[in-house]
């Protein structure tokens, strides 16, 4: 499986620790950070702000935020991933464990 990024150079990649998501940073031609959902490869967000290609990427130990570095000599911290996934229990009667008291 591959994903075309339309003239984007992939500089760095990291997986989310908590959810099945992926963040990639890009250089030419748009200096941006893209958050993907795997495996559907649905783009959750595109973050822009860096004025140079986004070369460096690190994920925080709690897995919630990332830091990106670029040749514009800034480090930017982004809140990208969430720790607890929205675990909504459905009220369906088919959900057996909801009904047991």
């Amino acid at each position: 499986m591959f994903v075309s990024l339309s003239l984007l150079k992939v500089c760095n990649l990291a997986w989310s620790k908590h959810s099945n998501e992926l963040v990639s940073t890009h250089g030419y031609s748009q200096h941006q950070i893209v958050v993907w959902k795997y495996p559907s490869m649905f783009q959750l967000a595109r973050l822009t702000g860096h004025t140079f290609r986004v070369l460096y990427l690190a994920v925080s130990p709690d897995g919630e935020s990332i830091v990106t570095g670029a040749g514009d000599e800034t480090l930017r911290f982004w809140n990208v991933f969430t720790k607890c996934r929205a675990n909504k229990e459905s009220d369906s009667v088919l959900n057996l464990f909801n009904k047991i008291r």
């Binding site: 994903v3 992939v10 997986w15 099945n20 959750l44 460096y56 830091v67 040749g71």
Partner: protein, 511 residues
């Protein structure tokens, strides 16, 4: 046949009974009191084009307050009724925007895109936020136009010429904004929808809707790509992505784009902040693709290599300390990497030295001057430090014994990416020779070689959720993120059509 049944049947055929007593009627009966024959299709409000267009008008009014009344019009809607209803309620258009209304309008946007796909042959297959904003903005604009138009409609309900002219006018006025507000889409290619070449139905609500043709982006533009140049002499059954969603045996009357549109997630799962919550200055942070100068430890300390120094920024206290300075050795930092427990920082330098620094003691504990060129990639595995260098080798050094353990030779050019799998069994390395190699703990030869990339492989990431799943991204000429199953040694993309099922199974296992 039961006598009772027969009696009812006869009654319903003669048309003297109401619909609900017909033996064949669905329990979901139509709200209308029109006589139907015994074949009855339950009314689905949004599935009908007429209902769709009325809801289309509803979106301009905002709230769904008088939905029920509009719904009742559905069965007997004529143009006049519609217009009257429209005028009555437009005065009471309030501005409350509930989430329900937003949800609803998103649905309507989807239907609009779907209709556009089917009627005009466009290929909208994803609705993004920009589009949603665009439609809101157009609808706002439209509501202002509408107010001007209402008088026209009151006077000339049946003369379509003036309404058409008015619609044409508004089309012209929106055409300017259409070109400005086109969102830059996923595929990078944006198509403008031209309003001119299409026959517009003369009734005014149809012309309203066609006036709001969505600007669209097609996420699947890579289908138009030419083949990779390096596969000319190699047979590969190259599938396009489309086939995952659409097969030639599909009996659906919808176009592939419409199917993709309907299968796309209905709403965005969560909001991601578009602005950084913190920006730090990093003077002299080098702009070099082959370096790895930022790493975040498990103890919440960020290590950044700035020219000749390594700085530590404590994320808890926001304190900055300088760990080391290579100015005296006239060397520069080319890579930093934290050990797993956050006790040591490995620093790779331009001269090919790997230094191990103890953060607590703030001193250098080890130095491995074993490379002959700059060290661009570092990876820890327990106590061992693996370093990839421009001299094409990956060296394994043990921080306890100060002796070289292994020398991994496989790359033909600079090693720029190096990552251990989460279970510490496999090492993935990417090189400037466009190759992605996978090594294990013991063998000195790569156990897997992937050559599909067409540019330097720097971005490598192992999935923490699925064992053996590796994602890698290439440099300038490549532009792809590729996924590999390192357990089976398969490129998840290049499996030929015969084993498509396996591919899907692999993907589904991640859920």
């Amino acid at each position: 046949m039961e006598p009772d049944f027969e009696r009812r049947l006869i009654r319903s055929m003669s048309g003297c009974s109401s619909l609900s007593s017909s033996p064949f009627s669905s329990p979901l009966s139509s709200p209308s009191s029109i006589k139907h024959s015994d074949r009855f299709v339950p009314l689905r409000s949004l599935a009908q084009p007429s209902a769709f267009f009325i809801d289309q008008e509803q979106i301009h009014k905002g709230p769904m307050s008088d939905r029920r009344s509009t719904r009742d019009f559905n069965s007997t809607t004529t143009h006049n009724h519609h217009q009257n209803n429209h005028n009555n309620s437009s005065s009471s258009s309030s501005h409350s925007t509930s989430s329900l209304a937003a949800d609803r309008s998103k649905d309507i946007l989807t239907y609009q895109a779907l209709l556009q796909n089917q009627m005009f042959g466009t290929q909208i297959d994803c609705l993004n936020e920009d589009m949603f904003n665009y439609s809101n903005q157009i609808s706002n604009q439209h509501s202002t136009n509408q107010n001007n138009q209402i008088n026209n409609n009151d006077l000339n309900i049946n003369t379509t010429t003036t309404t058409a002219a008015a619609a044409a006018q508004t089309t012209m006025s929106t055409a300017a904004t259409t070109t400005i507000n086109l969102p830059q889409g996923l595929g990078g290619t944006t198509f403008t929808t031209s309003h001119h070449g299409i026959l517009t139905p003369s009734s005014s609500f149809l012309s309203h809707s066609s006036q709001q043709r969505l600007p669209y982006t097609n996420s699947n533009t890579n289908l138009l790509r030419t083949h990779d140049p390096n596969t000319i002499f190699r047979y590969s059954a190259r599938r396009n992505r489309d086939e995952y969603h659409y097969s030639p045996y599909n009996l659906s009357p919808l176009s592939p784009a419409s199917i993709r549109l309907l299968r796309s997630p209905r709403k965005q799962l969560r909001k991601i902040a578009k602005t950084p919550f913190k920006v730090l200055d990093a003077p002299e942070l080098q702009d070099d693709f082959y370096l790895n100068l930022v790493d975040w430890s498990s103890t919440n300390i960020l290590a950044v290599g700035l020219n000749a120094s390594v700085y530590l920024w404590n994320a808890n206290t926001s304190n900055v300390t300088r760990l080391c300075d290579l100015q005296t050795e006239s060397d520069t930092v080319t890579s930093v990497s934290w050990s797993d427990r956050g006790q040591f920082v490995a620093v790779g330098t331009h001269k090919g030295i790997v230094q191990i620094w103890d953060v607590q003691a703030n001193r250098k504990t080890m130095s491995f001057p074993r490379h002959t060129a700059r060290v661009g990639a570092l990876a820890w595995n327990d106590q061992c430090i693996y370093s990839g260098s421009r001299d094409r080798f990956i060296l394994q050094n043990d921080t306890r014994s100060n002796k070289q353990e292994r020398k991994l030779a496989g790359h033909r050019q600079e090693v720029c990416g190096l990552k251990w799998s989460p279970d510490r069994q496999l090492l993935a390395s990417g090189g400037n020779d466009n190759r992605l190699l996978v090594w294990n703990q013991s063998c000195s030869n790569p156990i897997q070689v992937y050559t599909d990339h067409t540019a330097a492989v720097k971005a490598i990431a192992w999935s923490p959720h699925q064992q053996g799943l590796l994602a890698s991204g290439g440099g300038t000429a490549d532009r792809h993120i590729r996924f590999w199953n390192t357990l089976t040694g398969q490129n998840l993309q290049s499996i030929d059509t015969g084993s498509q099922v396996t591919f899907i199974c692999i993907l589904e296992r991640t859920f």
